[in-house]
Symmetry: C2
Subunit: 238 residues, 2 copies
DNA sequence: AAGTTGATTCTTGGTCCAACAAATGAGTCG
DNA sequence: CGACTCATTTGTTGGACCAAGAATCAACTT
């Protein structure tokens, strides 16, 4: 019997994907789901998967590579592949992989989204904030003006906003912010150079934190909106 | 001029990843960025990348596999690899790859996020909605009750909400909704069986659309919040 | 003669195989 | 108890072949 077994044999119940790698990927995935494998469990060895799926080792490895890229498995030499769930981190890597320039449209959309979140969650933020939080937030704001470079200042700026979002207590929203971090940073570093240096951003932050401290929802929302839109105006100058 | 630069040379500024595949991946990425390659451009052939990076073909292929998993390149036989930007679709696939069960916490977070978006964007939605939109939305709602299965009904339910979110006119938010689609669907299909059948969801949708039609922001926000939280209560019954 | 069509060849990704290197867990011996 | 050896497993390499598509060219038709 020749070695070249055809992929599309009898065991091809699903996904006649016309690609051996995709087929193996689907089968491994089915094995995870139907086998009820949970995070922390181990997958069979590569060679075992080879003979189980009638595939070559390279094919199995490429499928494993995709699982790794998806953040579903973590594989170490000798110890094998264990199931994990780092898809959020993968999504983060995804957006850090910059190939295209940020368009004006993307800029508007991201800022609009932030406005929605950061002004809309005023109730939750007010309910959760503690005096210690305020001290920390003001300290971050001071670190921003002490920053040596625009890049560093942007990171502190975003850190302050992210810290505020953390107070909402919603992990999904925080995850989204984490995913968007690279894009937001690029947006900040593009348009805010002068504003940060001139201290406008610092003073706006201070006003927002003051409103937060005295639980003035209307002021908080108004100042936050103005603050976010100010970055918007500097973008279109160029 | 010899092209064969050694991998571990001076240009290894980042990611001395101790992995040949990661090294090749970083180099290809650097080639894209520094070469100013845009979407639509073509990458060199695999064999050319082999000798340029002094790597084996399998190594290059595994690196290419990751680029494909990232949605950065699209590779077709004979024609080679072309640069694309389908990272949003990849992120979508990422979250469709379910390995873990939805926790109560995730459920709360997602619903909280939706509440923030769908009640917070009332101004934009009111400004954008047209009579045709309303007709379409009501039609989707009717299709939901005509649905044969819970799965189909859930899809129509989410379709209505997604259509509403589309009216915001913010592509980033829409992207996030698309990414979350699989998770939201699983949430819906878990808790809403009885509610959909009994027509509660339909009537709540109708009330929301009525408020939308007469531009009653307060009613819209209140009804939407109640509607979203209703699904929350059915979740904890089990 | 020009255009079309068909076959042929060549390129290129897709898959497989065999082998070696490196890492590491496990067993063994001092 | 510790150091050492060994076997297993992933990481990497090089080579081989196949299939499909692009390119080229010859033959045929109009």
């Amino acid at each position: 019997m020749p070695i070249t077994r055809n992929v599309s044999d009898e065991d091809e119940t699903e996904s006649e994907s016309s690609s051996a790698v995709d087929a193996v990927l689907a089968q491994i995935r089915a094995m995870i789901v139907e086998g009820g494998l949970k995070v922390g469990d181990k997958l069979p060895t590569e060679r075992e998967l080879c003979e189980r799926f009638n595939s070559s080792r390279n094919t199995v490895r490429e499928a494993m590579r995709m699982l790794k890229a998806f953040g579903v498995v973590e594989v170490r030499p000798k110890v094998g592949a264990t199931i994990v769930d780092q898809r959020m981190n993968r999504a983060f890597d995804l957006f850090a992989f910059n190939v295209t320039e940020i368009s004006r449209q993307t800029f508007d959309d991201i800022q609009g989204f932030r406005e929605l979140i950061e002004t809309g969650s005023v109730t939750q933020i007010f309910a959760a904030v503690t005096p210690e939080n305020l001290i920390e937030l003001r300290e971050i704001n001071r670190e921003m003006v002490r920053a040596k470079s625009v890049i560093e200042a942007s990171e502190q700026d975003l850190r302050l906003h992210t810290r505020l979002v953390t107070l909402i207590g919603n992990k999904s929203i925080l995850d989204i912010y984490r995913i968007m971090t690279p894009v937001i940073l690029r947006i900040m570093q593009r348009g805010k150079t002068r504003r940060i240096i001139e201290g406008e951003t610092y003073r706006e932050h201070q006003a927002i934190l003051d409103a937060l401290e005295r639980r003035d929802a209307l002021a908080f929302q108004y100042l936050m909106r103005t603050h976010l839109r100010a970055g918007l105006s500097t973008f279109e100058e160029e």
